[in-house]
């Protein structure tokens, strides 16, 4: 009997590579198997398992909303064995993809609401899908505020795209705020001088000084380095955000993506969860009930 083998990936050709920073590349993939591509339907927040044969497999979040059915965009930071190998590949080379896995940001539930996206560093990648989805369906969402924290100008991802929003976002009712941690960074300092209502030096939570971030009718969506969550959540709770309206996506070691290999387990007796299949998107309400989640 022919059985579907969930552990076997599908080939995808690299059609475009864009070096965004010293360590991050935007990689555009085109699925070789068109049937696979047709069924590869994903929502913002989901992730894929990407393989370089002979090196291994790693979970990578999808960094764009679904536009064309056979194209997949991944933002890959060169940080481990697999991602380093991905960085060595060229246009035309093959990557192997399984997925999409995990749950997603509840784009439907958030319709009619204001969105507050808080991203730190590479954490902006999965949020970009949310942002794109909301911009394409602009009439369905209220005001969009993006708080993006970077280390310095050169570490800023999707720079052209985001700078355009930074300057001209108002046309689409998007407020794009930027914080930079390296206070000596010249380019960011110039941005701050230009628009000190949009940019400041410091960690991402400092941007709450520049925006009202009212809890009414607003969903917060967070992604960033693990240390960031509790500080952002603290700001939101101080502003009386409902824990169930704070969404975040988590990083863990994931070998299988389908709730078996066990590396991504979090929680305690009453609340053992697999981040790969029960998440990676959780609400702060989940985090309150799951020890060790953030």
């Amino acid at each position: 009997m022919e059985r579907n083998n969930v552990l076997v990936p599908s080939p995808a050709k690299i059609v475009k590579i864009e070096s965004m920073t010293d360590i991050e590349k935007l990689i555009e993939l085109e699925f070789v198997d068109k049937d696979f591509a047709k069924n590869f339907i994903y929502e913002p927040g989901q992730f894929v398992e990407v393989s370089v044969m002979g090196v291994g497999e790693a979970p990578v979040s999808i960094c764009a909303a679904r536009k064309k059915e056979d194209i997949l965009e991944l933002c890959v930071r060169r940080v481990g064995k697999v991602t380093n190998a991905i960085h060595r590949l060229n246009v035309g080379d093959l990557l192997w993809v399984r997925g999409p896995y995990g749950n997603n940001f509840p784009m439907k539930n958030m319709e009619g609401k204001n969105l507050l996206l808080v991203g730190g560093g590479l954490g902006i990648a999965p949020l970009r899908g949310v942002l794109q989805h909301a911009l394409v369906n602009r009439e369905k969402y209220g005001e969009i505020t993006v708080l993006y924290g970077v280390r310095c100008y050169t570490s800023m991802l999707f720079r052209d795209e985001f700078l355009q929003l930074f300057y001209d976002g108002d046309k689409e009712n998007v407020k794009f705020l930027l914080s930079y941690e390296d206070s000596a960074d010249q380019a960011c300092y110039e941005l701050e001088c230009e628009r000190n209502d949009r940019c400041l030096s410091g960690v991402v939570t400092k941007l709450f000084q520049l925006t009202e971030a009212a809890p009414d009718n607003t969903y917060a969506v967070i992604c960033g380095p693990p240390i960031m969550y509790k500080f952002v959540v603290r700001e939101l709770l101080q502003r009386n955000f409902d824990p169930r309206h704070i969404y975040m996506t988590l990083e863990r070691r994931m070998k299988c993506g389908v709730g078996k290999c066990g590396h991504c387990i979090v929680g305690s007796g009453t609340s053992i969860r697999y981040v790969c299949k029960d998440g990676p998107v959780f609400t702060y309400w989940d985090a309150m009930n799951t020890k060790g989640m953030i």
């Binding site: 579907n4 299988c256 290999c261 590396h263």
Partner: protein, 336 residues
Amino acid sequence: MYKKLAREELYGFFESLKKMGEVYAPVSIGGSSYDFKKVSSPNEADLTYTRTMIPPKKFFVKTKEKIFDFDEEKAKFREPKEEEGITVVLGIHPCDIHAVKLLDKVYMDETPDKYYVERRENTVLVGVDCHPDENCFCKSTGTSYVADGFDLFLHEISGGYFVRVGSERGYQIIEGNKNLFKDAEAKDAEEFRLNEKKRQAEFKLDLNVLGLQDMLDMSYDNPVWKETADECLGCGTCNLTCPTCRCYDVVDNVGLDLKTGERVRRWDSCMLRKHGLVAGGLNFRPTRVERLLNRFNCKGSLREGMLNCVGCGRCTVYCPADIDFVEIMKKVRGEL
């Protein structure tokens, strides 16, 4: 359906199992340890064993197995051929059958794992009853008796075995060996009932598992984790011997031509340092304290109402640092 197998027919029964496929049964491997090994005669097996060191999960989730071969140049995969033939596991205990049922929930009910499902379908489970030793606490976990999940189950009675039929395949084995099995009589059933009552009274070790999940939640900061972590060697033996532990790791092995290779998965252990480590060096469970906490919480949690521990006692018996699972859980409950 209930049958009786006379003791002298055990050989005939064994031969019929051998005709079906390879028969694995508990074999003494020195000391008080046993392992499920391939046997060719019932004399090699010891059906009165206590527990095997390596649990029967090894038949379904292999210690190390190929997921596929790859050829990078031709961009091709080859999945390993389905293993042919039937494996018969003779002498599996109730706790271990419960553990297999739990693995089924993980590997079959949700995004089915092809290799697991194939093996599960090609394996016949013949259970045998047992007597608890000082480390068994399956009565506490509700797994000292098993109602389904096996093909046949043998309960020792005078003169042979009282046999429960647990599946259609089990029934086919009976059908195919009509000369070996007799219908169980009222006195056999009576003896089975009596033995079961006696057996359930033999348990010395008890652990109250009611509300264990909340007890664990509330013990997140209990000093017991630090104290135990100081003793723990972090070797992962508890994971390997646990019948419900199923974490696995994946590695690629490349051939000498650097073009072909294989992807392999192998048992992993949450007690090892790398288990929670992500690229970049961040470890979500950086010390043994977090790792122990995670293991005990995982074991004490429920999966669709089923406890992730079946009370087999292996982790306690084989821990080189003499860490006692039940004792820790009792501390968590505030009973010690």
